[in-house]
Symmetry: C2
Amino acid sequence: MASKAPRPTLALVGATGAVGAVTQQVLAMRADIWGEIRAAASADDAGTVLVVCGREVVVQELSPEFFDGVDIALVDVPAPVAALWAPIAAARGAVVIDNSSALRGDPEVPLVVPEVNPLQIRNRPKGIIANPGATTLTMIDALGVLHAGWELTELVVASYQAASGAGRVGMARLYDELEVVSGHRELGHQPGDVRRLIEHELGAESPFPAPLALNVIPWIGVAAEDGWTSEELKIRNETRKVLGLPDLRVSATCVRVPVVTTHSVAVHATFARKIDVGEARQALVEAPAVVVLDDPESLEFPTPSDIVGSDPRFAGRLRQALDFPNTLDFFICGDNLRKGAALNMVQVAELVARDLAVV
Amino acid sequence: MASKAPRPTLALVGATGAVGAVTQQVLAMRADIWGEIRAAASADDAGTVLVVCGREVVVQELSPEFFDGVDIALVDVPAPVAALWAPIAAARGAVVIDNSSALRGDPEVPLVVPEVNPLQIRNRPKGIIANPGATTLTMIDALGVLHAGWELTELVVASYQAASGAGRVGMARLYDELEVVSGHRELGHQPGDVRRLIEHELGAESPFPAPLALNVIPWIGVAAEDGWTSEELKIRNETRKVLGLPDLRVSATCVRVPVVTTHSVAVHATFARKIDVGEARQALVEAPAVVVLDDPESLEFPTPSDIVGSDPRFAGRLRQALDFPNTLDFFICGDNLRKGAALNMVQVAELVARDLAVV
């Protein structure tokens, strides 16, 4: 109402994927500040009709012209596709918010989490803003709050990442595998028995590099340097960039678990100053998007299936590391499709829209 | 053959549980050095006939007289039961190998892992030797080998622990829950939807403090001091005791995952000296009971369902921590019913039997 500017045109690219579906849910739950809304996907899905904020939107095939007149484009496509199309969209005048990993490392592309570094949306010489990965987003605003109080110096994390991190095909594979193993109470006792049954029933081709039902898989992403995975290095690089701590010491182990949606992270965070667990808890309680579920006496702690589908991050198991005076250990869960992807993109889009209206 | 001593009498206490069943499998696969074999369990299971090393063994109800003439007793019962019965068995002349946590912290009870501290079997003034917990046993011989080379100073670990850590009822609950959720492809998207369906179908009473199917649970054991669980403090205390490092700095986060059997641990281990990943790998390759599965280029890494039912520990994902020059990160899996319980007890029993024969 303060602004007389026309409502911005929003484009959803990759609208028919798992993140696209949640983006539409998230948009429906928030104040509708948008004018026209467009959607694009691969040719296979062109013609699909979506309902976005009450508008019927026909999915188009991606083309340069699709972006003409678009103010803000939320792009959720594989990294090579994003690397190609994000600059095209930006060249056509859209501010691009890209959820792939393609451009997160580019020093001319800011990596923005509204609760942590909102002002970085303005530092976008290429017209592109990147969304961090879902594992980083699970813990980054809790870390931001703690860093503000105690100055983060080291981070050792192990993740428990959900199937939907691999998109719709990841979720479908997990459901398929669960149906195959269900009722087989002899499974899980002999080497490879789960793998043999699943590969016999479903074939070996999978979005995951091992069976996921009745298993955990310590390999996510692709091989990077020296035995690290791309996913593990992303956590290091993205945390450093969002927090503005280029020398932060980080070690991450990323593991896929048979959960549909919501990533969890076991965090061992070390600070420059001695951290008091009561003060840390209070800082997290006051953080707007973090909910503290931490009453061990009544078995209150976050689990992914209990918090999936909600917007905040849920932190629990807060404890002072017994042998590390400046270290806090905790466990934190966040919906990897919401804050871990769609919600953060929409929040960034809203910040940009407000900023465009002011300018 | 070297010894003319009569073959020792072996007693299995808690013979009808999940660990008892695997103990019988393990005994059947090893050289039969035993004379008489007896078995005891709770009154409910008395009269059950087991076949142990080819002998038919009728399960007896536990009594003081049960231990008369027993040389070595393998005890796998809940901690309060063990605290009561282990001294009774020892008073009747048996060397007790106790798998509960009841006596692990007693300075007069050695905690023995044959690959790490075999000579400790002789320091048993109470006639009792304790078996470490399964999570400690998953990583302890790998840590022992690395400690011998580089001197361990700090340990940060996060676990992925299987349902059978809660015994037969734990496995049964996981299978039950999987049958309930299987086929419900709408599950895992709304807060608590998995919990509601499972509690509706199976009731809320469970060996686990939250749903385990399609979930992970960051709470194992009971509340200990300052927000830590008993399971997390066990890892700290047991690792220190087995390695003889009372000041080792340890932080552990223990998480239950929907795997039937085999615990996994993400390990971040720091040493007094700079560690070279190639040398560390070679040391682990040479360790008799550790198998290194670590060829990232061909996606070779250990997963619990691939290695369950086998004796060694399987280590992979070995990498030099990028920002911590003296730190090695790795992922390790071990069958929590075999090495994590039955196998280690049997190995200790064999050491004691050999020692008794010599004496």
